[in-house]
């Protein structure tokens, strides 16, 4: 199984490649009044208005240099647009396409089933639904449904 490893500042996270529609440089994002700080704003994505989340804010990670904004975005497919293979594997996305603003993509890695680990109970985080081991490093995996839940 392939996972995309990305970075929020110095912290690494993983996300299932099946969720990815594309990677792109973060465009100008217009803020939406009355939304939580996790919502960076709305992006016109080839005619479709899409919600962009500032993932750093979701994890309470303030930028290292004040005022700097995430430079890269990950566009996620909506649940309907997931491939059959993804659906068969039980990959869950949001009902709408979603944009995650991150600092940078690190790599795409292939992991074996044995590389998956649960999150220890004392380290439980609403946004994480497991860990993968990559080169002796445990990287948390982002859970999209849980991420969406925190916005409610």
């Amino acid at each position: 199984m392939k996972y995309v490893i990305f970075a929020l500042q110095s912290k690494k996270f993983g996300i299932d490649i099946h969720l990815i529609h594309e990677f792109s440089k973060a465009p100008y994002i217009s803020a939406v009044l009355g939304q939580s700080s996790k919502v960076a704003g709305l992006v016109n994505l080839r005619g479709r208005i899409t919600l962009a989340l500032d993932l750093g804010c979701c994890f309470d990670l303030a930028p290292e240099i004040k005022g700097t904004k995430p430079k890269t975005m990950i566009v996620l497919d909506s649940q309907d647009n997931l491939s059959d293979e993804a659906k068969a594997l039980g990959v869950v996305s949001h009902t709408e396409p979603l944009i995650l603003l991150i600092d940078r993509i690190i790599s795409i890695v292939e992991v074996e089933a044995t590389d998956f680990h649960p999150v220890p109970s004392q380290k439980e985080n609403d946004l994480i639904d497991g860990l993968i081991q990559v080169d002796n490093e445990l990287i948390p995996l982002l859970s999209i449904p849980q991420l969406i839940n925190t916005l409610a």
């Binding site: 392939k2 995309v4 990677f23 890269t72 795409i108």
Partner: protein, 816 residues
Amino acid sequence: MSLSSSPTVNQDSPATKRRQFSIFDPAITFEHREFYETIVNRLNGIFPLCSQGKSASVEISENPTERQQVTDLMKQVEQFASDLLKVNKELFNQFYQSKEDLHQAILSTTAHNTINLIDRNLLERTCDVRWWALELSFSDCISFALKTKEEASHLAEETAKLRNLANLSNRSESITLQEDQQGKGLLAQIDELTKIWNQPVLALLKPEMFVHLERLLEDITEGSKEFGADRLNQGELTGFTENLKELHLKLDFANLRLEDINNSYTLYRDIVIVGPQGYIIASSNRTNRDKVVGINVAEEDWFRGAMETLDGNSYYTQDVQPSKIESQNSLVYSTAIRKNSEEHGDVIGVMGVFFDFQGEADLILNEYIPKNEKHQPIDGCYSLFTNQQGQIIASSDEVILPTSSFAHIPKAHRYLDTGENIGSYTVFEGKESALVSCKTAGYLEYEGLGWTAHLVIPKEDVFKSDVEQSSIFEINSQLLTESCLIPKVNQETFLKVQDDKEAIQLISLNGIVFASKLGRRGVALGPIFQQVTQTGSFATEKMEELLEEMALGVFNLYLKSLENFSKQAIDIIDRNLFERSADIRWWSTDQVFWDALQSPSEETAQKAGNRLRVINGNYTMYRNLVLIDAQGEFVACSRTELERELRQMDFADQSWFQSAMRARDSSQYGVADVNQSPLEKKKQTSLIYVGSVRENGTRTGEVLGVLAILFDWDKEANSVLQSCLPRTNKSEPIDGVIGFYTNQDCEIIETTDPVSFPLGQVIQMTPPFDGLKSGESRSGFIQLADRQYIMGVTQTKGYREYSGLNWKAHILRPVY
């Protein structure tokens, strides 16, 4: 201004086209050409990969949309790779242009500094000669010599008549053999006397001759009685010999005063007093005096020029050229000595001061020539001064560039306008070199002598790689993109490379995502995109490496230039303070001051006050000059309005007063380092030089009191610091640059930024700035007042016999 193959090109002109460095330019190093080739090869490797990707799309899918998606991705990759190839070319151009610009700026500043240091020095020399020529002992001595000479002329006429009589008597038959012999003896004696009367310089008559002269006069008087002639008036003769003795005393005193001046101001090889006929009558150079006194310089420019000066404020400068006075070429400042030392009095003689130009030029040229790690001038580097005609007047290498010869430099460098500077490449002494020239604009009211400073550095040194240079800092992307020290154009390139690198990475990643979504069908695409990512990363990382090298080079050059500026700042202040230490030693010997202390009265004190005011009027770099007696009580000062306040003070317990009272002889002086002083209650900082005033003005006489001179420290030091701040090509100080001096306790004693770096603040000299040795310069990063700077620091090494006060000059430039 930038260096150009054509010397007339000047960057300041908007029409100027900047030199472009193609990768085939001979200036580009072999390593960089190889670097360039590697990047080009790797980027070119992306195109076949993209073609492979486009072909693979046909193989893996029959779906036109999917095929198009792959083809689009590949086209985007090709586009970015093409962009990077263009950036790569431009990158080397920018790299070499920035190196050239910075080197040019440093060389140009250095050339300017060398000529500026000489001009600052020479301005002081013009003050010296005018001031010294006003000394009464010199005009008195010349007047007396003239009077004595007139007497001698009269006596010569009388002697001629006597000789005629003696001659006639000699021929008379009545004279016996004995008388004949006596007669011949008398004639010989008269001839000898005639020679003495006609002596052009009575100063040449040594005191040991006086006894002989008296005997001669007695013999002639006695002998002439034989033929009944009493032609020589005995009283007149006695009066003359007495005057001759007095003249010698006056000459001795004049010589002593000249020696005193020279002991105080060691910049001169000789200072001479010349009579109106051009004969030298006194000299400061004790060892050479016998050879110099009596030389006639009536034909020399400096003498004639001085004789024609209009008043006591005028002077004449003779550019470096031969003189009878000394074996090497002489730079002479001269002015007229006027009757009774009055500013508009009749011209009765000349004072000529022979500046040690060669010694001074050697100091400056060798100080500011680029040096290697062993502190030796870099091979092929030369520094020289030429005069209006293009003749070398001083050079850092007398063998290759002997004085009086013409340097082989392009015409455009020889005929510059006042203050103009120029840079070009030329073959100099067989080596392709960068040559910068800067023509003097003078300094303040001193217009200079039209000299030009030239600096030559081999071209290979301008463009040598900075990679091997040890660096005390790491170049990171934040520094590259945000530091105000990195040229904007380089920052833009860096950002462009970063953008393209990210774009290629994202495209490749999208390709990998796309391939993985195709499942098994996409397997063939995966390695292609992986390869694109790797190649793109390799090429862009190489470019980043080059940009980092460029930034490192820029930083190194900035650091070097800050070192240069700090060196200049400490050098100028040391030279200035050397002059102050010379002033105090000389003024302390002035008769008016020891008169006021030796015979204290309202009248003598008033005279002393007047004298101090005249001095202060000429030497405006002082805030006040104060004469204090041996008990520490005020006697006179130049600032009348402060008199009442100072009169109520007792200075006996002041350390500077005590140090001057303890001075062994008049060559010693004391100094109170920059601090608060009761002499200037309203000033935050004062710098006071003190000298001992001695009985009869003698060198080792009893100390009668102290002369204190208050240097206008904050104004003068601030103006020096301002002049040593790095500037834009519009001559404005660069934003945020700061200069300050610190004392031996690392406290700021003068600053250009009293808000961020106030007086009294202690600057901790942590590595790499700690443990500076005398005259040593260092540079590096420093965090001060929550801001990061690059800083150049130089520790004083003094100047000539002035050892300095252990200060440092700091020039800072913010990094962000």
